[in-house]
């Protein structure tokens, strides 16, 4: 029954959601928003579970004085401080919670996000090395797109006449960059999206019918 009950719940919920999509008449219409409320409630309780698991792992590491246990102390102090401030003074503007969030959390998030700039540079360096015909094509496309998206690219080719002969207009770098983004790039992205959408439909059907049950630990 441990396996059967989740499959039955998935089947009933899946069928109801499909009916809700096509049938607006009560009691079916609006069921999806009701289920979203259920999910929010489950999610709220699960958050407590997550905090408990996190605390357990970190307390254990501190207790056993594992290597780098200092980080675990920082984590637990941060966790307790934020919860305490939120419970005692609320989370409104100018509250201690807000202060900690704006002055600790936000800068740390921004720091992590800003790392992307360096990672993009290092990843691009590897990707754009012309080792194979595909990588060479990628390099050429990237050259036109990057140059066409900056003022320098426009300045380099702005002398190309726009009116006559009309095909010469295409040689302006920003226009080449836009063409690459609008046509080959969009076509490729849509192909991936159509494939993914069908994959989602197929997986959903397998889940609803109980054929796919690896996510609940069933063989």
């Amino acid at each position: 029954m441990k396996r059967e009950i989740p499959i039955i719940i998935t089947f009933v919920t899946g069928i109801l959601m499909i009916i809700d999509f096509f049938v607006p008449h009560p009691p079916f219409g609006g069921l999806s928003s009701l289920f979203e409320i259920f999910f929010t409630i489950i999610f709220s309780f699960a958050t407590i579970l997550g905090i408990l698991a996190l605390s357990k792992i970190n307390i254990e590491k501190i207790y056993r004085k594992r290597e780098t246990y200092g980080y675990n102390i920082v984590l637990l102090v941060g966790l307790v401080t934020m919860i305490f401030c939120g419970l005692v003074w609320g989370i409104g503007e100018k509250s201690p919670f807000d202060f900690l969030y704006m002055n600790f959390m936000m800068p740390m998030q921004s720091t992590m996000f800003s790392l992307l700039a360096f990672f993009v540079a290092s990843a691009s360096y590897r990707a754009f090395r012309a080792r194979t015909p595909e990588a060479t094509l990628l390099l050429i496309a990237a050259f036109f797109v990057m140059l066409g998206r900056v003022p320098l690219g426009y300045q380099m080719t702005k002398w190309v006449p726009e009116v006559f002969p009309s095909w010469l207009h295409f040689l302006q770098l920003p226009i080449i960059a836009n063409w690459i983004m609008d046509f080959p790039n969009t076509a490729g992205q849509r192909a991936i999206m159509i494939g993914a959408a069908l994959g989602i439909a197929s997986t959903s059907l397998r889940l609803v019918l109980g054929i796919e049950s690896a996510h609940i630990g069933k063989e």
């Binding site: 607006p24 407590i48 997550g50 992590m112 069908l198 994959g199 054929i211 796919e212 630990g217």
Partner: protein, 406 residues
């Protein structure tokens, strides 16, 4: 006599101007009254507002394809809207549940429009509507009252007919191959990223290092997370068999519970239940970049030999994959997020692109029913490609019925 009065008024006005707000003038009072009255009279003559003409023929119909929560109100524009005095700038819509009122405002629309959809109705009530034309000076002209009407709920949303047909085609195709899969063996092409799982686990075992598995950063309500978790079971079995360490950091507590259950089940199924411990799956944080920082820390401290990123990812994808690359781990990624795929393709050894992620579970299990569903999915894709090509041809010849219907 008239001339004498006019001279007197002019004289007194001049005196007033000179004396201004002096006490004498204020005490006298009579002088400004005469002057202001004259001024007011002249202003009134010039600024008498001309009221706009009301909107006409208000009629209300049930909005189609909804659950009985909406009514559509239409009216004929006021003759002073864009024409005539051209003074109407707005229409306010009033609603009452009784013909006698009270009417309450439910919204407004700008001049030039003659339709309003009221989406706040209850199908058990009867509603009456009035439309009020308004000028910038807030002068109003009300229409007559509409006939009473109750919204009606429909049993089928006709705007989704094309979607229903698509669903029927896809489901029939998958259903047909599910049935057929029981009778004959189906061919499924090799997926390099999934073939490399054994290689990755073997490498980690030989090096005596662990395996890192991330099932995306979203919750269990996302199908990509479910696809990622489904693959985790297969990998956990291999790590259990080879006695290789497994580390599954997650960013959602529901996902943590599900992953713990799957890993435990996998270890039990291959007879290594004793090797399982719940801390294999650990919750870090819900915060996107906090999670990225946490995983980066694990990558740099524990240096896993193989990293799997299978699920839904956003901007953190490149942060994780580049850090994994820096520790020379073999990396297998998979996502249906088209914006993150270039990052994974660049930084990882193997990438499951879009549908391959959803096919992975079936591919790894080799279950005939699951493989049948993949075949059905491919046939559905072929039908969609046919419709796309057919649509391109029709549109090229200026025939739009297919795109309009879709």
């Amino acid at each position: 006599m008239d001339m004498t009065k006019k001279v007197l008024v002019v004289f007194l006005s001049i005196v007033t101007l000179f004396l201004g707000n002096s006490a004498i003038c204020q005490d006298a009072e009579i002088i400004p009254v005469v002057d202001e009255t004259a001024l007011q009279d002249s202003n009134l003559i010039e600024e008498i507002p001309l009221l706009p003409q009301p909107p006409g023929n208000i009629y209300v119909t049930d909005s189609p394809n909804d659950g009985g929560k909406s009514l559509t109100i239409k009216w004929e524009k006021s003759p002073d809207d864009g024409d005539g005095l051209n003074s109407v700038v707005e229409y306010e819509i009033l609603r009452a549940e009784d013909m006698k009122g009270p009417f309450e405002s439910i919204g407004s629309t700008t001049a030039g429009k003659h339709e309003f959809i009221d989406s706040t109705c209850n199908r058990k009530n009867t509603y009456y509507f009035k439309v009020v034309a308004k000028t910038p000076e807030k002068f109003k002209a009300e229409s007559g009252i509409s006939e009473g009407i109750s919204p009606v709920a429909q049993w089928f949303d006709r705007t989704r007919l094309s979607m229903l047909i698509a669903v029927i085609i896809v489901v029939s195709s998958i259903g047909f191959f599910l049935f057929r899969a029981k009778k004959e063996e189906l061919y499924i092409r090799k997926i390099a990223g999934l073939e490399a799982i054994d290689e990755a686990v073997g490498r980690a075992t030989e090096m005596g290092r662990s395996i890192l598995y991330i099932p995306g950063i979203m919750d269990m309500d996302d199908i990509q997370t479910i696809a990622g978790i489904a693959i985790l079971g297969s990998i956990a079995k291999k790590t259990a068999q080879y006695e290789t360490g497994l580390n599954v950091p997650v960013s959602r507590s529901v996902v943590m519970t599900a992953c713990q259950e799957i890993v435990k089940e996998s270890y039990t199924n291959v007879g290594h239940a004793d090797a399982y411990y719940p801390e294999m799956v650990r919750y870090l944080t819900d915060d996107q970049f906090g999670f990225a920082a946490g995983v980066d820390g694990i990558l740099l401290r524990e240096k896993p030999a193989a990293c799997f990123y299978l699920g839904k990812f956003y901007a953190e994808s490149l942060i994780l994959a580049e850090t994994g690359f820096s520790i020379q781990a073999i990396q297998i990624a998979g996502t249906a997020e088209s914006s993150q795929l270039p990052f994974f393709v660049t930084a990882c050894d193997y990438t499951l692109i879009g549908e391959e992620l959803f096919a992975a579970s079936a591919y790894l299990s080799q279950d005939p029913k699951m493989l049948g569903s993949l075949k059905g999915q491919d046939i559905a894709k072929a039908i969609i490609i046919f419709f796309i090509t057919f649509g391109i041809i029709l549109e090229s010849f200026g025939i739009h019925w297919l795109s309009n219907w879709l």
